[in-house]
Structure formats: structure tokens, C-alpha cells
Amino acid sequence: MNVLFKSLGALTLLAVSSWANAFDLQQLSEQLAKPDVIHGQFTQEKHLRALPQPLISKGSFVLAKNHGLLWLLKTPLQQDYRITANGIARRDANGWQLLPNKSAGAEQNRLFLAVLQGDSSGLQRDFELALSGTAQQWQLTLTPRSMLLKQVFQQINIDGGALVQTIELLETQGDSTLLRMQDSTAEQPLSEAEQHDFAE
């Protein structure tokens, strides 16, 4: 009897640990942090409750591990954004203009970078994280912890494989934003122009 129970217990432990081993946050973080530079295209769909069709915009992005993010909106209007440790900047005729620090906005951008770079430790502070799937096809669900965030976001869903593929922000008020990252590649290094954009 005793021996049977013990071996049963050992088996259960094994099963649990191998199940937990399947694909965890640690591995996801490592996987997403691997590439130094990611180039890709994006489509943003903004679903506003009162609009019959979403506001769709398209463009390309460059995510560089040690620099930040370039977000180049092409249609329906052209506008370049840059997020770095210094904050968020917008390009106008005179070059990059650092936008005045809006306290809540700055914090949101930090989240945005954390999501793209798979910085789960940065996300875990503010959200409950639930990960499912495999390294090739995973889903991460973020549910806000604090009362304040709950009043803004209902949930954030992130899907991906080697890289992040879609990000869906569900706002408490009913609007939602869907970001699709397509043709992402980690093969290309930063071009000279891109290096210049980050350096400026």
C-alpha cells in the first residue's frame, strides 16, 4: 500500500513538473529577447463602438533591443514615431520632436515596449499573466491587477510564435485595438538611416 502510494505520488510530481515545463513565461521571455533587431509590417485596426467599420492604418516598424521602437505609419496618413528610454518622439519637418511627458501615456508606452520585447517581469507587476500553447504557437493573456488599470483595460491578448504576431487591446469602455505584425524578420541589422533615427 505504502509503496504504491509513494510511487503514485512521484509519478504525479513528474507529470506536473513536465507539464509546467511545456512552455513557461521564462522561456517566452528568453525567446522574445533573442533577436537584436526585428523589422516588420503592421496593420492597426481600431474598433470604435460607434463606427460601423474599424479605422485601419498600416506601416512598418523596427524594434531594436538596445534602442527602442520605430513606428512608421504609412497610410492613410504618414507619421513617424519613436519610443526610446527618453520617451516618445514624433517626426516633423524639423526632425524628431520629443513629446511632452504625459504621465499616463509614458507608462502605457513602457507597457507597449514590454509587450513587444517579451519583458514578462515588467508586465507581471501590473497584470496577471496566463500563457498557453507552445513555443511555436503561444497565447498570452494579460488581465490588469489594479483598480486603476481595470478601469482602462479589460484584457490584453498577445499571440505569437518565434516573434509576436498580434496584440489585441480590449478597453473597458468597449473600444478595441488589434495590431497585426506581419513579415517580421530578425535577419536584417539596423540600416544606417535607422541607426541615425535612434541616435538623434
Binding site: 492597426q44 507619421q79 511632452p100 499616463a104 501615456g105 507608462e107 507597449f112 489594479s146 486603476l148 495590431l179
Partner: protein, 776 residues
């Protein structure tokens, strides 16, 4: 030996004393009637009730609130500690509110933003809307696509034109402090650490006697607790300064009072070698009692600074018994009543002159000095009465056989002086002295600053500066007061001022400002916004292109047109109004009034210029005004000094005649001049307090001149009496020089110098000296 009147006197005095003790007990029935409010001590510079109200409004948070930064390299650890401290402090019962995170009421915020779409739009946005409506629409289209726009509180379908987003973004920034949206805490990053802001508001204010000390203790305890987790606390509050001031006052009172007492008792024992002589301290105790009772009776309470400065009364009060005790070197055998009879005229004169000197202080516009003057004058009267009525009876059976060394010392001093006069004649000495005075006076510099009143310790000011650097909050004591006939005019005036202040901000001359017009615009401007909005349909095609239904836009415009004009009270009621609420003074006798508060170090004269041609706008700069009053008071103090001298001459003319009186008064004046010169030679500034000190010295040292003039018991005995009196007085005043409050220490230094010179010059008051008139 004892006259019948002298048998009755002690009993009469004892009944008076009993009455005073009963009065004192009644005054102290609800605890010590002490106050520590610095502002009670400085002169009221303006009789303007509204300015006073505005000032109190601005002062209030300083005296009730504490700002703490909880810092750690790891933000989460800092947040955890802030939360922990917040809970502990809330439970301490010392605070009304403790706030470390913002529990934003988003529905209320949304409501206020929607309601204030016309009234709360910033001046820049209003201008864009009226001058470049096409750009206004273009920016809105951009914002709708902008993924980094930050979340807007109001959903797009309730605000297609994006007015609430603009209002949200134009709110004045909280310095370098950012909202941590996870926890709702306000956090600033600096020096490699995250600093979480914790704000606490106490139940009472900084001038409650116990609260500041309790708050300081709690903070100290929290600091130690935080240090265990490697968390650093930075704190700033008027309460901490008050706690420090109280501790310092207590410490100094113990030092000055205790030091003077021990020193004087030792001196008495060494000189008279009888335990009974310690009874000479009775007049001191009675004097303190009389002083305190008179002070509380007249002012309702006593300030701690009065106690500190008043403790120097010990040295003056003990002079009365010394007057006749010192006669034991010449009167053999010495008996108390006959000795008193011999010295009574001198004693009485010295009481009158000292009281005149002290009361001269009462006419300065400084409540602090008025209190000290009343305390001292009443104290001296009490000391005199007990020295005259009670002490001789107590000393009736004491036979004094004083030590001979003090007399020998005095004789040696007299010989020395005669030897000196043998070499250099008095006129030559006087010339030398005058040269010394001229040289010193030329180097004398005047300096007056309210900061001399506060011995603010370096660590507190350093911490406050660090907090200002990290958070970007740098509240200043100056502010603008704006008066107007009605709200419309008030907002217009405030907006005109804001426009100028913004230019200073752009030039980096000012860090920031807060004014009501940043929250709500005047009704006429709200009407202009309404009109500008009406012109939008001709340019809003880009929004329609995105798919926004034209009906939705028209509906929104319709809503905006019917939005009622918002007034100041309505705007302040919402959550966004919170930081502005202190600024609104509301209805006044002749209209309404508000404050524009300022941030960051700035130049008062530059600020004053801004208000010059703006009607109804004045800069309130209490510290600057006070410093001006200080300088003006210096002159009136000098006049008072001369007036008190004239009065003393009049009193002294009765016993000494005009020449004698002039000489007796001229010596202390010369001594005061010498002290001034010494300050110059020492590189010490002349402050209002050194001047007050010298004013006092004149009063006290007239006493020495009288003693030397009367020469009861010979020159050596008189000099010895003067020496004893000067040393005891110096023991109490001189110790004030060690105070860490610049004002008190300056006072002590100038009195010490004055006493030294008075003693040195006193022998020239003697009748048989062939001296030139020093006042010539």
C-alpha cells in the same frame, strides 16, 4: 537694628507672592500656555485682511502636510514600503489623511471633462480652434490613428472632436512625478532610484505643542524601519522645522538657564563662603514667576523664544541682592537690613533705569520683543521687590565674612587703572577709543533677514532641496493676489498675469505657476469657443472620410452649443479642481479674489514688475516685506535708544544733577558704540538683534555707572560689586551667544561685548576723577 516697617514688609510681600502664585496656578490650569508659532513673533506688515487670509491659505499646507519620498533602486520595493508606511501612519492617529496612491475616480473625471469641454479648453487650444480650424481637425484625425496617444478617459464616440483629450493634456504637469498606473502611486525617478510620493496631512498644525515632536519621532522610526530594507526616506514639512525648533529651544533653555544658574551659584559660594547666600537666588525665581504671569496675563500665552531670551533675566535679577551683599567687604559686621538701607537709593534707581531700557523694547513693532520687554520688566520688578522686602529678613541671621581674594582682585584692577592713567591721560585714552570706534564702524555691515530667526538645521534644508530637485515641486513663499469685481473680470485678470508668467517660464526665470484660468476660462471666452465650434462643419470632411457618421458630429455640436457656461465653483468641485482649490478665495467685501501660486526659485523684483500695470494684481512677498521692516526698524530702534537715554537722564538728574546724570548715561552709550565697533572689527554683521542687544546693555550698564558713582564703601568695593554684577549678567546673556538660532546668538554676542565695555568704562563715572566728558 530692624525698623518696625522692616518687620511688616516681608509679610506684605509674602501675601503678594501668594496672590501671584495663585494667579499663575490658574493660568496654567489647562497645561502650559506656551506657543511656538514663529509668525506670532514677527511684525504684521500689512493690515490688509484679504492678504492675511491669502497668506494663511498658502501657509496652511506647509504647517500641516508632510511630503515623504520613499526611494529604492527597485520600484516595486519602494512601492511596497510606501504602502506599508502609509498603513502604519494612518493607524498612528496623528494624521487626518495619508495618501500614497491615487484612487482616481474615473467616472467623475469623465463627467467633469465632458461638462467642461468649453470652459476648460486651454488658451492655446482655443486659439487653434478659432484661427486654424482645419489644423484642429487634422490633428484630431492624426490622434485617432496614433497608437501612442495615451489613453483618453472619454471614449471617442462621446467626444469625436477630441476636446476632452486636449483638456487632459493641457493640465499642468506634476513636475517630474509620473503616475505608476499599476499601483496608482506617484513616482519620480532620480539618482538611480524610484521615489514613491507619500503625502500625509496631520490632525493639528505645526504650532500644536506636541504634534511636531510626535510626527518627527514617527518619521525617525519609519526611517530606521525603511533602512533595514535598504529603503531611503526623504521628508519635508513645516512640522519638522517646528519640531526641531522646539527641541532646540528646550535644549538651549536648559543650557542658558542651567549654565547661568550653576555659574552664578558657584560665584556666590566662592565669594561669600556661606550656604545662606544662595538665598540670593530667591529674587531670581520670584522674577521669573512675575515675568511669566505678566506675559500670560497680557498676551494670553508665552512664546518659547521669550523663555529662551527671558532666561537671561537670571543674571540681571541676581544683581539686586548682589548690590547689598557686596557691601559685606566694607561693612563689618554686615547685617542685612542696614546694608539694604545703604544701597536702597541705588537699587531703586537701577530698577527704574533697567525697566525704562526694557520697556523701550516694547515700542518696537516686534511682538517678540514686546513680550520679552514685558516679561523682563515684570520680572525685574518682582526681583526688586523680593530683594528689598523679603530677602533681608531671610538673611537676618546670616553674618557674611566674604573671601578676601575678590577684593584684592578689585584693588589690583584699580591700581592697574591708575597706573594706566599715569602713563596716558584720559583725553588721550578717549581719543584712542574713538579711533577704535571709527575704525570698527567703518567695517560694520548691516544685514537683516527673517532667516536669522530660524536656526534651520542643514540636514532639513538639504532634504527639502533634494525633494524639490527630484519632484520638481518648489513652492515659494511669494504669490500673486488678484482682486476683481466679479468672476469674469477675475479670470481675465488672472489670464493676463498668466500670459506674462508664461513668458518668464519660457525664459527659465520661473519654474511654473498655478492659476484658476488654467482650469476654467472666463464666460466670454467660453462663448467664443462656442462660436468657433459652429464654424467646424465646413472643415470636418477628413473626419467624415474616416467613417465618422455626420449625424454623430452634428449631434455632438448641438450638445456643445447647449452646454451651460461653467463658473469657478463648478470647475473646482470636480476632481480636476483639486490642486486649484486653495487658490480660490471666493467672495470678498468688494468682489472676488484668487491667488496665483508660483513654483521655483525666482527673483521677487522681476515678479513685482509683472504686476505693475495689471489692475487688481499685487505680489505678496511676506519675507521680502519683513526684511524691509527689519531694516526700517533698525532706525526706529536707534531712535528709541536715544529716547530711553533722555528719559534715564531725567530720572538720574534728581540724585546726581545734570552733569552727573549725563556722565552716567554717556558711559553706557560709549560702551554701546565700542561694541558696535567690535562687531565691525570681528567681521560680524549688525543685525536688528545686535541693536536690540545694545539697547538693553544701555539699560543694564547704567546700573554699573550708578554703582561706581555712588561709591558706597570705597572705590574697590564698588568696583567689586560692579564686577560681580557684570559677571552674573554676562553668565546669562553671554551663554545666549552659543544659541544655534542666529538671531539669539547675535543678541548674546552684542550684549556680551556691551557688558565688557561697560565694566571697563564704569570707573570713569566716579565723582573725583578729572575726566573729560566722554559724550563730547
Amino acid at each position: 537694628m530692624t525698623l518696625p516697617s522692616e518687620r511688616k514688609l516681608p509679610w506684605l510681600f509674602l501675601s503678594l507672592l501668594l496672590a501671584v502664585v495663585v494667579l499663575a496656578a490658574w493660568q496654567w490650569r489647562d497645561g502650559a500656555p506656551l506657543s511656538a508659532n514663529l509668525m506670532e513673533l514677527v511684525p504684521g506688515t500689512n493690515p490688509d485682511a484679504l492678504e492675511l487670509r491669502a497668506e494663511q491659505r498658502m501657509q496652511e499646507p506647509l504647517n500641516r502636510e508632510m511630503l515623504v519620498l520613499v526611494g529604492h533602486a527597485d520600484r516595486q520595493q519602494a512601492l511596497t514600503m510606501a504602502q506599508q508606511l502609509g498603513e502604519q501612519w494612518q493607524a498612528s492617529g496623528l494624521f487626518e489623511t495619508v495618501q500614497w496612491n491615487l484612487q482616481a475616480d474615473l467616472p467623475a473625471l469623465r463627467k467633469q471633462l465632458l461638462q467642461g469641454r468649453l470652459a476648460m479648453l486651454s488658451a492655446d487650444d482655443r486659439q487653434l480652434l478659432s484661427k486654424h480650424p482645419d489644423a484642429f481637425i487634422q490633428q484630431r484625425v492624426q490622434a485617432l490613428f496614433d497608437p501612442f496617444n495615451g489613453f483618453t478617459l472619454v471614449p471617442s464616440q462621446d467626444d469625436w472632436l477630441g476636446l476632452t483629450g486636449r483638456i487632459q493634456n493641457s493640465q499642468p504637469k506634476h513636475g517630474a512625478v509620473q503616475l505608476d498606473i499599476g499601483s496608482g502611486a506617484l513616482v519620480a525617478d532620480a539618482d538611480g532610484k524610484s521615489w514613491v510620493m507619500l503625502r500625509a496631512r496631520t490632525t493639528g498644525n505645526a504650532f500644536d505643542m506636541n504634534l511636531p515632536l510626535q510626527v518627527a519621532d514617527l518619521l525617525q522610526h519609519s526611517r530606521e524601519q525603511a533602512a533595514k530594507g535598504d529603503v531611503q526616506l526623504l521628508a519635508a514639512s513645516g512640522l519638522l522645522y517646528a519640531a526641531n525648533g522646539q527641541q532646540q529651544a528646550t535644549r538651549e533653555m536648559t543650557w542658558v538657564g542651567g549654565g547661568a544658574t550653576v555659574g552664578i551659584l558657584l560665584l556666590l559660594l566662592l565669594a561669600f563662603r556661606r550656604w545662606g547666600v544662595l538665598l540670593a537666588f530667591v529674587p531670581v525665581l520670584v522674577g521669573m514667576l512675575f515675568g511669566a504671569v505678566a506675559c500670560v496675563a497680557l498676551f494670553g500665552h508665552m512664546h518659547v523664544m521669550t523663555l529662551v531670551l527671558g532666561s537671561s533675566l537670571i543674571g540681571v535679577a541676581v544683581d539686586y541682592p548682589l548690590h547689598y551683599l557686596s557691601k559685606s567687604w566694607s561693612l563689618k559686621p554686615w547685617r542685612s537690613w542696614p546694608a539694604l538701607r545703604l544701597t536702597l537709593p541705588g537699587l531703586t534707581l537701577s530698577l527704574i533705569t533697567s525697566v525704562i531700557g526694557y520697556l523701550a523694547l516694547a515700542w518696537t513693532p516686534f511682538p517678540a520683543l514686546t513680550q520679552i520687554a514685558v516679561f523682563s520688566a515684570a520680572g525685574l520688578l518682582g526681583a526688586y521687590l523680593s530683594a528689598v522686602c523679603l530677602l533681608p529678613a531671610l538673611l537676618k541671621n546670616v553674618e557674611l565674612r566674604p573671601a578676601q581674594w575678590p577684593l584684592r582682585l578689585a584693588e589690583r584692577l584699580i591700581h592697574l587703572r591708575e597706573a594706566l592713567l599715569g602713563c596716558i591721560r584720559t583725553p588721550a585714552l578717549l581719543a584712542l577709543l574713538i579711533a577704535f570706534c571709527v575704525g570698527g564702524l567703518m567695517q560694520l555691515q548691516s544685514k537683516n533677514d527673517i532667516r536669522q530667526w530660524v536656526g534651520a538645521p542643514q540636514h532639513l534644508t538639504d532634504e527639502a532641496q533634494t525633494i524639490a530637485r527630484i519632484t520638481g515641486f518648489q513652492p515659494t513663499s511669494q504669490f500673486f493676489l488678484i482682486r476683481a469685481a466679479n468672476q469674469e473680470q477675475l479670470l481675465e485678470r488672472q489670464a493676463a498675469l498668466s500670459e506674462r508668467l508664461q513668458q518668464l517660464v519660457n525664459l527659465d526665470k520661473l519654474q511654473g505657476y498655478l492659476a484658476l484660468d488654467q482650469l476654467v476660462s472666463a464666460p466670454s471666452q467660453q462663448q467664443q469657443v462656442r462660436e468657433s465650434l459652429n464654424r467646424l462643419p465646413s472643415v470636418w470632411q477628413p473626419l467624415l472620410d474616416l467613417g465618422v457618421p455626420v449625424a454623430a458630429l452634428q449631434n455632438e455640436l448641438q450638445q456643445l452649443q447647449t452646454l451651460p457656461a461653467e463658473d469657478i465653483d463648478a470647475a473646482l468641485a470636480g476632481p480636476l479642481g483639486e490642486p486649484y482649490r486653495t487658490l480660490w478665495l471666493g467672495p470678498t467685501e468688494d468682489g472676488v479674489a484668487a491667488i496665483t501660486s508660483l513654483q521655483g526659485l525666482n527673483n521677487p523684483s522681476l515678479l513685482r514688475v509683472q504686476a505693475l500695470d495689471l489692475p487688481g494684481v499685487v505680489l505678496v512677498d511676506r519675507l521680502g516685506d519683513l526684511n524691509k521692516v527689519f531694516a526700517a526698524t533698525q532706525i526706529s530702534a536707534a531712535e528709541l535708544k536715544l529716547a530711553s537715554c533722555v528719559l534715564i537722564v531725567l530720572v538720574l538728574m534728581l540724585p546726581f544733577g545734570l552733569t552727573g546724570a549725563l556722565r552716567i548715561v554717556a558711559l553706557p552709550l560709549l560702551a554701546a558704540l565700542c561694541s558696535l565697533a567690535s562687531l565691525g572689527w570681528l567681521g560680524q554683521p549688525l543685525t536688528l538683534f545686535s541693536l536690540f542687544g545694545l539697547l538693553l546693555v544701555t539699560a543694564i550698564s547704567v546700573d554699573y555707572a550708578i554703582l561706581m558713582r555712588e561709591q558706597v564703601g570705597g572705590a574697590a568695593v564698588s568696583l567689586l560689586g560692579t564686577l560681580l554684577a557684570a559677571v552674573t549678567t554676562w553668565l546669562s546673556f553671554g551663554l545666549l551667544a552659543v544659541s544655534s538660532t542666529p538671531a539669539v546668538s547675535n543678541f548674546g554676542l552684542s550684549v556680551s561685548l556691551g557688558l565688557a565695555f561697560s565694566f571697563m568704562l564704569a570707573p570713569w563715572a566716579g565723582r573725583h576723577e578729572p575726566v573729560a566728558e566722554p559724550a563730547a
